[in-house]
């Protein structure tokens, strides 16, 4: 796992093509729905934060809500937890209406962005909090707290106050405090954002394997698309309160539904083209397609553009190299074709010496995407 993880972090985009089956599992099939979000909307004053969001969360699933700041992702999480009320729409969990219950009756636990550990209680007392307030027998509380602390490797710090442990340790305690209650659903609000990069990558792996082990559904909020790709079974991408796409990491990368999704997840070339009588035209490029006539946007990933090797059926175009940027295992190279069309392609590091290139790509790799309407 560690070894694979290293590959992902150095260049997870290219690893998608070489190691996809190992790195990112597909959404589990034939599982029961746990949480149903139905047409949930939220406004703050005149500001629309969420617009009729509907999505289903399966049992044991790792679902990531991904979006930029202001996309409404945290608000959606807070609506599930019960800290905010939706303006309209419903939440259903295991056949019960969830949104009419106060937060303390919901069988949902949250790991807060800043952990929100109780400063006056020890690590142990923090973890025991949920069991204590629900009046579990003392022996059971002790046993479960000890197990939970053991699971997150914090047993040695049980008697310390939160202010005496590091950020990463606080993060583990917050996780143990939530998991000890055995919720059906765990909500995580950017729990890794306060950690430094190395610890963050380590925690991504630990969190994911912990989630598999406990089998609890996780709804994980992040603005980091790489984190979302590495950890999730499915990603729900929000943009200004709209659900742009919900799909497995591979599908969302390989089959982006909108121009916004294609650009937000990884790099892409957005080609403004037009389909006329079964042929797509875009500047100097044209290829056969079975799309309907009309203006169409295509997303072409940089790694699908190569210098020409004469592949049958490929679209070819002559270009001039503008800039090369070193990205570790690969370089991103900007080239200019005829009619001022600028493309980006990915090539093995230091691989391209020529000034003029003939490029090719397969028509199947030019994915038609919907235009994302501009919203403030």
């Amino acid at each position: 796992m560690n070894h694979l993880h290293k590959i992902e972090r150095n260049n997870f985009m290219s690893s998608l093509n070489t190691l996809p089956k190992v790195v990112i599992p597909d959404a589990p099939t034939a599982v029961k729905n746990l949480l149903s979000i139905r047409k949930v909307a939220k406004t703050f004053g005149t500001n629309v934060v969420l617009r009729d969001i509907s999505l289903e969360i399966a049992q044991g699933e790792f679902l990531t809500i991904l979006g930029e700041s202001g996309s409404g992702k945290t608000t959606l999480l807070r609506i599930i937890a019960g800290f905010e009320t939706a303006a309209s729409g419903e939440l259903w969990m295991s056949g019960e209406r969830l949104d009419q219950q106060p937060p303390y009756r919901r069988k949902v636990n949250t790991v807060f962005q800043s952990y929100a550990l109780f400063p006056h209680l020890t690590v142990e007392e923090n973890v025991a909090y949920g069991l204590r307030v629900s009046k579990r027998p003392d022996a059971e509380v002790k046993q479960r707290v000890a197990d939970a602390l053991d699971k997150v490797k914090m047993s040695a710090h049980a008697k310390k106050k939160p202010s005496k442990i590091s950020g990463g340790q606080q993060q583990r305690v917050a996780l143990a405090r939530a998991l000890v209650n055995r919720p059906q659903l765990l909500l995580l609000d950017e729990p890794l954002s306060a950690l430094d990069a190395n610890l963050r990558r380590q925690m991504q792996v630990e969190l994911k394997s912990l989630q598999r082990e406990v089998g609890i559904a996780f709804v994980f909020v992040t603005h980091d698309q790489e984190e979302a790709m590495v950890m999730s079974d499915r990603i729900a991408l929000l943009r200004s309160g709209d659900l742009e796409q919900i799909a497995s990491p591979r599908d969302i990368y390989n089959r982006p539904a909108t121009a916004y999704v294609a650009q937000f997840i990884g790099h892409t070339n957005l080609l403004k083209g037009e389909v006329r009588q079964g042929v797509a035209h875009c500047g100097p490029l044209s290829w056969k397609t079975n799309l309907a006539d009309g203006p169409t946007l295509f997303s072409l990933r940089p790694e699908h553009l190569h210098s020409s090797t004469g592949t049958p059926g490929a679209v070819r175009v002559r270009s001039k190299v503008l800039t090369q940027a070193f990205h570790g295992a690969t370089d991103l190279i900007r080239v200019e074709c005829a009619d001022g069309l600028v493309l980006t392609l990915r090539a093995a590091s230091g691989g391209i010496k020529e000034e003029n290139l003939e490029l090719e790509f397969l028509p199947a790799d030019a994915i038609p995407v919907r235009e994302s309407p501009e919203r403030s």
Binding site: Y104, R105, F112, A116, F118, G130, V133, K161, R177
Partner: protein, 282 residues
């Protein structure tokens, strides 16, 4: 960082203030407390412990001191009982009206202490607002005379005057509680009542201690409320000090009582400081 001249200009005035108005008077008081008064009403500068001996031997002094502490303790209790819910409401539920309500807590502090004490005299007197009302609605047939000139009147007035001093530190400590702790508590299944007792109240203890200290210490040293509203049964220790420095012309004994009170107050402040530190986490 700052020039020597600048630092001197900035630090000397406050130091002078403290020296002239605090250290010198206390030093004088300290000296006086070991002197005595001759039969001819002159201060005799002979050092002895007779004033302290008198304090311990004559029950009137320590009984009045105990009564003063009992009054101060009641004022403290009632100010907390009134002030805490108000501060809690202000901090957690006042919403947009928060600033306005906060100002309304502050505004009474602008009204002269004397005016507020006299107001209670008007309300509690035998021809006062309260007695007139009680007779008007036929709850009583003649004026209740325990209302004014009693420890009750003193406690009531001091509670009214010092409650803002308890509200402010409690409010400040409640404002410092991160709201996500309250959310975390609810999230973990704690009801609003459990959340209050297990999270909010423990984290507000520094404010409660500070507020309680204000109410107790300020009430303990008060002499105007007992003078105006206390009557003979509501006399407090400061009234004795005032009369010893005035009519009785026994400055040495007055100074001895003052120093005794100073020691009590300093010990209280010390304990309260320790308690506040024990319960603060920021």
């Amino acid at each position: 960082m700052f020039s020597r001249a600048y630092r001197t200009i900035v630090t000397v005035p406050p130091l002078m203030w403290v020296a002239v108005f605090l250290l010198v008077p206390y030093a004088l008081m300290f000296c006086y407390s070991f002197w005595s008064v001759s039969a001819a009403q002159a201060i005799v500068h002979s050092w002895n412990l007779s004033n302290y001996q008198e304090l311990l031997e004559k029950p009137v002094y320590w009984q009045t001191l105990l009564r003063s502490m009992w009054i101060a303790a009641r004022v403290m209790l009632f100010s907390l009982l009134l002030g805490y819910p108000l501060a809690y409401f202000l901090s957690f539920y006042a919403g947009k009206r928060k600033d306005l309500l906060y100002q309304m807590v502050i505004i009474p502090l602008w009204v002269s202490y004397l005016v507020r004490a006299y107001a209670w005299k008007t309300i509690l007197g035998s021809d006062g607002v309260l007695n007139t009302l009680l007779q008007y609605v036929h709850l009583t047939s003649r004026p209740l005379n325990f209302l004014l000139y009693s420890p009750f009147a003193v406690v009531l007035t001091l509670t009214h005057i010092y409650t803002p001093f308890t509200i402010l530190p409690i409010y400040a400590s409640l404002e410092h509680i991160p709201r996500n702790l309250v959310e975390a508590s609810h999230d973990l299944g704690a009801s609003p009542a459990q959340t209050f007792w297990k999270v909010i109240f423990p984290l507000s203890i520094p404010g409660v201690v500070a507020g309680a200290t204000f109410a107790f210490v300020l009430s303990l040293g008060d002499f105007l409320a007992p003078l105006l509203l206390g009557g003979p049964s509501g006399i407090m220790i400061s009234n004795i000090v005032v009369s010893l420095f005035g009519a009785a012309y026994n400055w040495p004994l007055g100074a001895a009582i003052s120093l005794g009170m100073l020691i009590i107050v300093i010990s209280l402040l010390f304990i309260s400081e320790r308690l506040e530190r024990k319960w603060s986490y920021s």
